[in-house]
């Protein structure tokens, strides 16, 4: 269940992604969407908690929020 009412343009489900990993999947999806669109990344990798904010900042894409439903994280990133 989503705790926010953000409507993502696309959702990437990278839960259980063994390799190359959730951030690579997120970047691939960000390329596909338009500027201003929100992409939601679902990940169960702890590493995403540092990877995703670090990249979002580097690339100038805003990380709106991180939710923690059940056993995974949901990152909402706006394409700049």
């Amino acid at each position: 269940m989503s705790e926010t009412d953000i409507e993502p343009a696309a959702t990437v489900d990278a839960r259980g992604a063994a390799c190359p990993g959730p951030l690579m999947d997120l970047i691939g999806k960000i390329r596909d969407v338009e500027s201003g669109d929100v992409v939601c990344l679902l990940s169960d990798a702890e590493q995403s908690l540092t990877d995703v904010p670090e990249w979002a900042e580097e690339a100038g894409n805003e990380l709106l929020t991180v939710e923690e439903p059940d056993d995974h994280y949901a990152f909402y990133v706006v394409k700049s």
């Binding site: 696309a10 990278a14 839960r15 259980g16 992604a17 063994a18 390799c19 190359p20 990993g21 951030l23 690579m24 999947d25 970047i27 691939g28 960000i30 390329r31 596909d32 590493q47 990877d51 670090e54 990249w55 580097e58 690339a59 100038g60």
Partner: protein
Amino acid sequence: MSDHIVILGGGTGGTVLANNLAERLGSEIDSSDVRVTLINDDPEHVYKPVWLYVPFGTREPEDGRRPLADLVDDRVELKIDRVTAIDPDAQQLHSTGEVGPIQYDKLVVATGSTLAPDEIPGLAEAGHDYYSESGALELQDELLSFTEGHLVLSVIGSPHMCPAAPLEFVFMADDWLRERGLREDVEITYTYPIQRVHGNPHIAEWARPIMDDRDINVETFFNPEEIDDGTIHTMEGSELSYDLLVAIPPHRGLDLLTEAGLGDSGWVDVDKHTLEAEHAANVYALGDAAATGVPKAGSVAHYQAGVVSQRLASEVRGRPATARYDGKTLCFVETGMDSASYVEFDYEHPPSPAPPSEKLHWSKLAYNESYWLTARGLL
């Protein structure tokens, strides 16, 4: 009425599956209770890993091609035809070669990846690649005449085929240029989308010191957005000039899979253990076409074919299908022209790269050679 199993795509996954089914369901096929059809748009089967060696002149593109008819069991009906649409509700395929639709009871999508360099302005004109036969041949010409300047290997596509191949290319280029006495005059830079040199942290941790040791420059958080006039511009706002650009272009699955409602960007959404399509009944996907989160690799397609074969055999016999894919991936990683490492991992166990050795390099070459037995279902 016989059950009709249709396999779409006669690459690594589709061919291994067709032969595995012919063996497993041999008696049902002989008694006409089951039909297995393999549809491929090319009479030749292509083994892509050979392309890594073509730019360095150690393998020829022909080494990666064999007539599909020579590889596929006689009990499989082989159709050389291009499928243009899938109707999952009617369980039908449309193709360029058939007048009417092709009806299926079970469909396995194994259509692989396609390259989409046009998605990055300037890339198709400026970049070279070894992810296609023509690209690998052109790159061979470029490399042979490249005696000084800046060689940049940029990983742009994500996901892309064989996550190890970009590392392999720079390790091999470094060694190849050293052997030819040119390394002093050629600067090599490797770029990667995230903050490590590989998506998998264990492989990244292993590869980074080797790159540092061998003076291979690294640019991370590097996502090219546009290429013009010898310069790469990234989403992160950085720029990099090059003299020879070798790129791993964006990858896509087939549009017809998205049009059929099976998933985004031409990849089929599947259950990562059963490989059943999430948005259609009686459809499986395997190999590159399946969005499982594991690498797009031939070894993956091979293991997944074994799982799908067992599940299909159970289903046509009216039994519960129990076989599951555990994420198993196997990969040899070249670390030069005559040394390689090896990794194996699955959904639960991370990779731990083996120390590079000449023995592992020869194992990789032997594995590639024995591929023709793998495709036949003999290994």
